[in-house]
């Protein structure tokens, strides 16, 4: 355990029945009374519910629901134009992934100035001013960065504490759809981030607390994946916590490896996470199985370390099955493996663990 630590995850989580109904009050507690909603196309029902949630408060809201592909500067310009011309003072991003990235980047221009955004995109080290509140209405398909200090724009990852959203709302009315393969792949990313915390020597007691909650929520969700209405809230909750971990470790080596593999093999990061998970689980059991067991026994409500391991394995199998990628083979050769290890710049035991894993993947 890393005794010297520095941990920061200042996102308020509001989860459960009626969470969305509180959004107006919560925004006004952050001094925002006229938010702009940024949503992907095809979210009309959610937007209608959101408008209802603001219903009697007298607060005005605007909607920008044309997010389709990767966020572009044209999107940012559009949002900036609407935001400033109509006097909005906060942003609600609906869902996960690209919508949230766009909302984070657009918020820089909207609540400071396009010039500051231009400077930031040129050099992310320039300190950003305090931005207006960004609230996420959580969805079920994520890339893990939503509640983090990161935003991806033009294929580059930008970082600033100012990009951390102020709040995430987890409400079943905003969580439509079934436990689809895409949802399963999001779950694989969540699981790999949690395992990363156990596999890195650099974790802190604070990241460990969130990791344990994340495991509990994910496992509860996946276990009920076929029971309508039972899995969405815990899953969306675990998705939010993933950003907390990524913010503080920049992505552990499992997550980074999944990203590197995805780029190399032209697969999604989720698919590669699925391929890595059984190996990472085995490694984690070997390295810190006792500790994982002790930490997770009360959270999973089981009575032995072996049961914890069994539940974790079952969760992986279910995720891979639902994603339709169980037993996926990435067919890595030795030189590719070495190249990837080099690309994620690992040190010490993580490098040794990663090398062992590569040998397994290539055999």
């Amino acid at each position: 355990m890393l005794v010297h630590s520095d941990f920061y995850a200042p996102v308020k989580i509001i989860a459960g029945e009626g969470a969305m109904d509180n959004i107006a009050v919560e925004l006004s507690s952050l001094d925002s009374c006229k938010p702009l909603v940024i949503a992907p196309s095809g979210t009309a029902t959610i937007i209608r519910d959101l408008v209802c949630a603001f219903g009697e408060t007298g607060m005005e809201i605007g909607v920008f629901s044309h997010v389709t592909g990767k966020p572009t500067l044209a999107d940012v310009k559009n949002i900036h134009e609407i935001y400033t011309s109509r006097g909005f003072d906060g942003i609600i991003a609906v869902g996960g992934g690209k919508v949230v990235h766009l909302a984070k980047i657009a918020n820089i221009a909207a609540s400071s100035s396009p010039e500051i955004l231009r400077q930031f995109l040129a050099d992310e080290k320039i300190p950003l001013p305090q931005l207006n509140p960004l609230v996420i209405l959580s969805g079920l398909i994520i890339d893990g960065y939503e509640c983090s200090k990161y935003a991806i724009f033009s294929d580059k990852r930008y970082e600033s504490p100012s990009l951390i959203p102020k709040m995430v709302i987890v409400d079943k009315y905003a969580l439509s759809g079934v436990f689809s393969p895409e949802v399963a792949l999001s779950s694989a990313l969540v699981m790999i981030c949690a395992l990363d915390d156990y596999l890195t020597e650099k974790h802190s007691f604070f990241s460990r607390a969130y990791t344990n909650s994340l495991f509990g929520l994910l496992i509860a969700a996946v276990d009920k994946a076929r029971k309508p209405g039972k899995w969405k809230l815990p899953l969306a909750n675990s998705l939010s916590l993933t950003g907390f971990l990524l913010s503080n470790n920049g992505g552990g080596w499992g997550y980074q490896l999944a990203q590197a593999l995805a780029a190399k093999k032209e697969k999604s990061t989720g698919e590669c996470a699925c391929a890595l998970l059984p190996h990472l689980l085995e490694l984690a059991f070997e390295r810190c199985g006792e500790e994982m067991g002790r930490m997770l026994m009360p959270i999973l409500d089981v009575d032995s370390v072996d049961e914890v391991k069994a539940v974790l394995l079952a969760t992986y199998h279910k995720i891979a099955q639902e994603a339709g990628v169980e037993g996926i083979n990435l067919s890595i050769n030795n030189s590719e493996g070495e190249e990837m290890i080099a690309s994620i710049m690992l040190e010490g035991s993580a490098k040794a663990d990663c090398s062992r894993l590569m040998v397994r993947l290539s055999s």
Binding site: D6, P10, K12, S29, I219, A220, P298
Partner: protein, 415 residues
């Protein structure tokens, strides 16, 4: 997995833990974009030499440091108003609080006042009145117990009107909490014991009371494990820096847990024993915790039983039959109190009857208990306790804890 119908969770502070946290203050102030902090502390902290350590780390890097080191233990709105004037007079731009719960709460009040440009803190009373980011604020707890560096609440007394004013806002949390092992190294043993038991109570009540949630749970479990592994160890070896830091981390984790799940009966009665008889908060927690567990056992036997795991580890947990785990937790807490009592040569009391005032006389008389029970009825934490409590119930627990007798479980009305 416990997943409530609805819950909220928030920890806005950046938490820095280490043996050299203080040395990072100049850099942190720079990151926060400020250069002229006011340091708020009390004479105890100054006397223990802790302010000198903080000043040494600051003065090597910056010239202007304003110090207010006279926060009294019963700090109130007048003190807050006075410090706010001092802050403005010296054109300060940030706050560093070094101390226990009273200093940190006073600092929260000062921050609200100077940031919102009010002249009287009273005008900001209540929930959600403070809606904007306040001035940069760094908190350095010097006891491992209260967890107030993690809470969204400031409790400031109005000694003139004889009321406690409560201020709630996400913006009251410090921007940064620094947990540095040096800050607690010189704590007197009885204070380490009492504040440690306060932290344990935060963690345990957070875990079994009604507003628990999946994130507060994991914070609480980790805190219990760390306290169980470190409290007695540092009582035996007060200079154990690693142990001190672990306990400070545990106290912060427990603070985060209870700030998001609230507390129950142990605090309900504890606040009242504090208000009516002047018993230090941590001492109340230590005496009352076993009673809180006993009183709620029939409703929360699973959760209380699960607390055995972080207390004793996997092997002993598995050996203990399910139905006996909760009782074992209670007996471990009593054993911990007994050990603390021995190590402090009786200064850590086991029952309220044994607590002595400054004049050496018994602090609480049996006839005070009725008032304690009456006052407790109005404490907000009563609503989060799993089992209901009326005046008779509160009096029963107060009486048993006064005498040091285990609760007669037959007397608990199961509501």
């Amino acid at each position: 997995m416990n997943f409530p119908v609805y819950y909220e969770f928030f920890c806005g502070a950046r938490i820095i833990a280490g043996h050299d946290g203080l040395e990072r203050i100049p850099l942190l102030l720079e990151e926060l974009g400020v250069a002229n902090p006011i340091i708020l502390t009390d004479k105890g902290v100054v006397g223990a030499g802790l302010l000198a350590i903080v000043l040494a780390s600051l003065r090597s890097e910056m010239r202007d440091v304003t110090v207010f080191d006279d926060i009294p233990p019963d700090s109130d709105i007048l003190v807050v108003n006075r410090i706010a004037r001092e802050y403005k007079k010296n054109a300060c731009d940030s706050i560093i609080a070094v101390g226990g719960g009273s200093v940190i709460d006073t600092a929260k009040g000062v921050n609200a006042l100077v940031s919102e440009d009010e002249s009287d803190l009273f005008n900001l009373k209540g929930a959600g009145r403070i809606k904007r980011q306040l001035k940069p604020f760094i908190a350095m707890p010097t006891t491992s117990g209260t967890g107030s560096e993690a809470t969204l609440v400031a409790v400031v007394k109005d000694n003139e009107k004889k009321v406690k004013c409560i201020f709630t806002s996400v913006f009251l949390q410090p921007n940064i909490a620094i947990l540095d092992s040096r800050m607690t190294l010189t704590l007197p043993p009885a204070v380490t014991a009492a504040t440690g038991m306060d932290a344990l109570t935060h963690a345990m009540e957070a875990y079994y009371c009604l507003q628990k949630n999946p994130i507060s749970d994991s914070h609480a479990l980790l805190a219990v494990e760390l306290i169980s592994q470190n409290l007695l160890k540092i009582m035996e070896n007060p200079h154990d820096k690693e142990g001190r830091l672990n306990l400070a981390i545990a106290s912060n984790l427990a603070g985060i847990a209870f700030a998001n799940s609230m507390v129950g009966m142990v605090h309900t009665l504890g606040h009242s024993f504090g208000a009516v008889c002047g018993v230090p908060h941590g001492v109340c927690m230590a005496v009352l915790l076993p009673y809180g567990l006993e009183y709620n056992m029939h409703k929360k036997s699973k959760e209380i039983g699960q607390l055995l795991l972080p207390l004793v580890g996997v092997e002993e947990y598995q050996k203990t039959p399910f139905r006996l785990r909760g009782e074992r937790v209670v007996s471990i807490i009593r054993e911990m109190n007994s050990s603390l009592n021995k190590i402090t040569e009786g200064k850590h009391p086991l029952r309220f009857k044994d607590i002595l005032g400054r004049d050496g006389r018994q602090l609480i008389r049996e006839e005070d208990l009725a008032t304690v029970a009456k006052v407790a009825r109005n404490d907000g934490s009563i609503f989060m306790n799993p089992e209901e409590l009326n005046y008779e119930d509160l009096l029963m627990v107060a009486t048993a804890s006064f005498a040091g007798n285990p609760l007669d479980v037959k007397q608990i009305k199961k509501g």
